[in-house]
Amino acid sequence: MIICPNCQHKEISGALFCSQCGAQLVAAASPNSQKDPMTKISSHTKQKTNPKPAPPAEAGGARISLHLVESGQILPLAVRKEFSLGRVAKGQPIMPDIDLTPYKAYENGVSRLHAMLKLVNNQVAIMDLGSSNGTYVNGNRLVPNAVHLLNHGDMIHLGKLKIQILFSPDDKLN
């Protein structure tokens, strides 16, 4: 039995890709035979000695991007501990870290300070900042000012603005 590190689905031993989420379960044979401890999933025997499945959505050494679904654009985020999401309004001195105005934030009901993305123990989390129209993760409305952990591929709605959260391992960027 193999357990998918991404979605914890149990796969038949010998599977190379998770049938539930499509994640790759084995390391590829790279020409420079570097060991890659991150992605190697052991078979049955090794699993026993190390029963804990990998923590979900580890963002340590990963980079976060926001995929704006409507416009199809991807915003890679710089490496920081916290980001506020919102929109800049004329005549008001509120400056969110990420201004969503170009993505029709106002029309979609995004508050000026809508939500906060942050790193908690190396995991990415989101917190609603008491926005007027609410923050949703995969369709569930969040309680304001409470931290919610995110997974790769989660869909976030800020009001009606759709954003998909993406983690990409560092090595892919090079």
């Binding site: 039995m1 979605c7 038949i12 031993s13 010998g14 599977a15 190379l16 890709f17 998770c18 049938s19 539930q20 989420c21 499509g22 790759q24 084995v26 390391a27 590829a28 044979a29 190697k40 052991s42 078979s43 049955h44 025997t45 090794k46 995929h67 679904v69 199809g72 991807i74 995969n138 369709g139 790769h152 591929g153 989660d154 869909m155 759709k162 998909q164 993406l166 990409s168 892919k172």
Partner: protein, 492 residues
């Protein structure tokens, strides 16, 4: 290879053929090559050779003497080469079932004296139901005429149209009076419903009329609609066609047609199914299909097999030359091997725990058969045996890159399949989540357009409890086409 083929090759026999097999093979060859049947000098020469071969092989004394002069069989080079890659070197002894993937590749050994591609005997079966009116029909007409002009002297093209009933517009005759034929195509009018069986049956008879072993016999069905109630009949016909050596390929235009049905129809005969989202694409897709048929080297390849004990074939997919899901039962019709493109099939096996003393698990055993039309003699079938040795300790194994790459795309196609099943079963939330995951992977692979479609569908499913018809097909064939060879280079 410049030498004459040995007597066994000449008759298409194996070295261990029984006298009865030799007799049968001789009769088969003689019937085809007899001077009464053919006017070609080459055939007559071949006929004499075949007689000589029979004379020697059928006599046990002469045969033994002849065998002694032959080089050992190992050095004999087949016309078809088989290569197998496995996802793992061996199978560890475990108390649970395991998966093994095999990538089988067949390539043709073509020497410089390779003859030209075999002639086509082709029937275009065109849907002329009311819904085809307008641009669809115009492009179909223009393309049909274009193809007609490009035919080689030896090719045969027939055209059948259908709505509620079928009509032969151009019967299966060789390329004569081009102008007249063009005019007949120009006159096509749209009206009526879509009854695919009507068209398919008439097309089948046209192809049969000029059926020759040496030709590439194929039916191309163009439709834009659902057929009602005659699916079973169509599938039965496809089985007959496959037996007769006729392939069927389907082009679905727009969003209304039944993709599951067309996929199945094509896969039963080793043909392919193609999705045409916009009318203006009809032309290049159809021409590309023709070009592939003009490149055929070996045709009607078939894998007849039995599964090994405790092994189950869970999934089979043709990666090349045309992508498509295959049925998982014997015989597998795999279609042609092209001159410049090998045939590649990916299989997923589930292996039950081997018994204690087993040292080797057999996944599959059988024969790969193919007919090379330019070769007047039947080709040896290639014995196939897929197996893995059993080892006690499990070691981490890195699967070959080619398998990983194919599976990385195939797993996306399968996510899409599962999402469709979930929608059918009413599990909308799962389906929607699955499509979101699919979108994530698509983005990683740089497929933005497709990713966007997947996300929009995920949402549509949540609100409307179903796919949009357009999105459903777009995702299915979009993910399928990621498996096409050389996809990366083709990216705009």
């Amino acid at each position: 290879m410049s030498k004459k083929p040995d007597y066994y090759t000449l008759l298409g026999l194996r070295r261990d053929a029984s006298p009865e097999e030799i007799r049968q093979a001789y009769f088969r060859a003689a019937r085809r090559l007899h001077p009464d049947k053919t006017n070609s000098v080459e055939d007559t020469e071949r006929f004499l050779e075949v007689q000589e071969a029979y004379d020697v092989l059928f006599n046990p004394k002469k045969r033994a003497k002849y065998n002694a002069t032959l080089p050992p069989e190992k050095t004999e080079r087949g016309l078809i080469q088989q290569k197998v890659l496995y996802s793992r070197q061996n199978v560890p002894r475990m108390k649970e079932p395991q998966l093994v993937y095999a990538l089988i590749e067949y390539s043709a050994t073509i020497d410089s004296s390779a003859p030209p591609a075999p002639p086509l005997n082709l029937c275009l079966v065109l849907d002329r139901s009311t819904s085809m009116q307008g641009q669809n029909m115009d492009v179909v007409k223009a393309t049909a005429i274009q193809l007609l002009r490009r035919l080689r002297q030896s090719d045969t093209l027939s055209v059948v149209t259908f709505s509620d009933r079928a009509e032969t517009i151009i019967p299966a005759t060789s390329n004569v009076e081009l102008k007249k034929l063009e005019a007949r195509i120009q006159m096509l009018q749209t009206s009526g419903g879509t009854e695919i069986f009507q068209g398919l049956e008439t097309g089948y008879h046209e192809v049969r009329r000029d059926l020759k072993k040496s030709h590439v016999n194929h039916i191309i069905l163009l439709t834009d609609g659902h057929t009602y109630g005659d699916e079973e009949q169509c599938l039965e016909l496809a089985k007959d066609a496959a037996e007769a050596g006729i392939g069927i390929s389907g082009l679905g235009i727009g969003v209304e047609w039944n993709d599951d049905f067309l996929d199945k129809l094509a896969s039963l005969t080793g043909g392919s199914s193609l999705y045409v989202s916009r009318p203006q694409d009809i032309q290049h897709i159809l021409i590309e299909k023709f070009n592939k048929l003009w490149q055929v080297y070996a045709k009607e390849s078939t894998l007849e097999f039995k599964l090994g004990e405790g092994a189950d074939l869970r999934y089979a997919f043709r990666l090349q030359p045309e992508v498509g899901l295959l049925p998982v039962e014997s015989p597998l019709r795999l279609g042609p091997i092209l001159k410049d493109m090998d045939l590649k099939i990916l299989m997923e096996f589930m292996v039950q725990p081997p018994s204690r003393h087993t040292e080797n698990v057999c996944l599959l055993e059988g024969e790969f058969k193919v007919s090379i039309s330019s070769q007047p003699i039947p080709v040896h079938s290639v014995p196939v045996r897929l197996s893995r040795s059993v080892v006690d300790s499990a070691r981490l194994q890195t699967p070959p890159g080619e398998i990983l790459k194919a599976l990385s795309h195939l797993s996306l196609y399968r996510l899409q399949e599962q999402a469709r099943m979930e929608v059918a079963a009413g599990e909308y939330t799962q389906a929607s989540q699955r499509l979101q995951r699919l979108a994530t992977h698509l983005l990683e692979q740089g497929e933005r357009g497709l990713a966007r479609t997947a996300l929009l569908e995920a949402e549509h499913i949540q609100s409307q409890k179903k796919f949009t018809r357009e999105g459903e097909k777009h995702i299915k064939y979009g993910t399928r086409d990621l498996l096409l060879p050389g996809q990366e280079e083709n990216q705009p």
